[in-house]
């Protein structure tokens, strides 16, 4: 074997663990607490949202700000309500500033090194009764905590299963 092939082989051998390791670094954003009907889709299909969520958010932002259109689909607040639900481990709600990137948005954004400034102004946590934007005379889906709890229980069960299978 020529020294060139040796070099390539060594390189591949050295890189292999890196590839495996890198795979484990791929972010796994927390599951959304589905507080909408399972049969109806919340927004757009996942691959579309992964690629283009920022475009939908930007468009909705301008419509709300300038034209007063306040539909909830594509509203940042609704994303947060469902995607940044309390942690199944301790019931805590992740903050965008958390160092271990538990927040739904920061899981990917820290991985991709794309800095977002949404949460300099907007709340990074789900709406509570003191939070402003719900139009108070309406009953909003986020007040229904049963769905949230159910999703949490499901996640807890899944986590326990995973732990068991590892042992």
């Amino acid at each position: 074997m020529s020294s060139f092939y040796k070099l390539v082989a060594t390189g591949v051998a050295l890189l292999l663990p890196l590839v495996v390791y890198a795979d484990s670094l791929v972010p796994e954003p927390p599951e959304a607490a589905k507080n909408y009907n399972d049969k109806t889709q919340c927004v757009e299909p996942v691959p579309e949202m992964r690629r283009n969520h920022m475009k939908y958010l930007l468009r909705h932002r301008d419509l709300t700000m300038h034209e007063g259109i306040r539909t909830k689909k594509f509203s940042l607040k609704e994303c947060i309500n469902c995607h940044n639900a309390p942690s199944p481990k301790d019931g805590k709600v992740a903050s965008i500033e958390d160092k271990n990137h538990d927040h739904f948005c920061s899981t990917c954004h820290s991985y991709a090194a794309v800095k977002i400034d949404c949460f300099e102004c907007h709340s990074d946590k789900p709406a509570n009764t003191q939070y402003r934007h719900p139009l108070s005379s309406m009953r909003l889906p986020e007040t229904d905590f049963s769905a949230l709890k159910k999703a949490n229980d499901k996640m807890l069960a899944k986590a326990a299963e995973k732990k068991e299978s590892q042992q």
């Binding site: 700000m65 306040r70 909830k72 300099e120 102004c121 402003r132 934007h133 005379s137 889906p141």
Partner: protein, 249 residues
């Protein structure tokens, strides 16, 4: 979307029945008013409305600060205790006649001009007027240059100097902000609600403030203005303000 659609559907059904009832008996003016103004969540604002406020200076009590407190609470305006830099969306102004000692007190906030100087000077288009006459700052576009603050004859705008950690209303360091006439309340799909300051003024029993549609001759604010008149502050600037004052000497 389904939730929204359902809400809209129910709203339309309600509106249809409400209109039918109103057609039979055109007595409940309040309900009629709400039906006329209610805007569905997916509807854009139009220039058919122009939202404004009216202040009766005689009824506004010296020393009462309820409107300011209500505004701060509702919009989550907290400061660091420095009056030079802390944000003020609404403030109480005391006018004393040096000759006679006659004192008048009034709330001053963004006057929601028809021809707003803050919009004229904004280099990015962040300062803008909505079709329904509400003057706002799009903080997404605001670069914090503060030209608008210099242009405003009412000193109605504030700059956020410190980072904000508790977000009740979207506010952030490095942007300019001012009274929004509680725009999320105006957009309520069940019909516009009074801004926090007006609500607090009514609750305090002074009842010195009104909110309503200046383009609707049947709204209370229009009727009052027609009957008793009302002045603009710095009317000489011809800005056609949306906030009017009565009994201001």
């Amino acid at each position: 979307m389904s939730t929204d659609n359902n809400i809209d559907k129910y709203r339309r059904q309600f509106l249809a029945s409400a209109t039918a009832v109103a057609g039979l008996a055109v007595a409940p003016g309040v309900i009629l008013n709400q039906v006329a103004h209610a805007k569905a969540l997916d509807q854009a604002v139009t220039s058919k409305n122009r939202w404004g406020m009216l202040v009766d200076v005689n009824k506004c009590a010296t020393g009462c600060n309820d409107c300011v407190k209500a505004c701060n609470t509702y919009n989550g305006i907290t400061g660091v205790g420095d009056p030079k830099t802390d944000a003020q969306w609404i403030r109480k102004v005391k006018l004393t006649d040096k000759q006679t000692g006659y004192v008048q007190s009034l709330p001053l906030m963004c006057q929601h001009c028809e021809f707003p100087p803050c919009v004229d000077v904004c280099p990015t288009g962040a300062s803008f007027k909505r079709a329904d006459g509400i003057v706002l700052v799009d903080k997404h576009i605001c670069i914090g240059c503060r030209y608008c603050m210099m242009a405003c004859p009412y000193k109605a705008r504030s700059f956020v100097h410190e980072p904000i950690h508790e977000h009740i209303y979207p506010r952030g360091k490095g942007t300019v902000e001012s009274c929004t006439m509680c725009v999320d309340r105006v957009d309520d799909p069940n019909g516009p609600r009074d801004p926090a300051c007006v609500e607090a003024c009514n609750a305090s029993g002074h009842k010195a403030m009104w909110f309503g549609d200046l383009k609707d001759p049947e709204s209370e604010i229009s009727k009052r203005l027609k009957e008793y008149g009302g002045v603009q502050i710095r009317a000489d600037l011809e800005l056609n303000t949306g906030v009017r004052y009565q009994n201001l000497d």
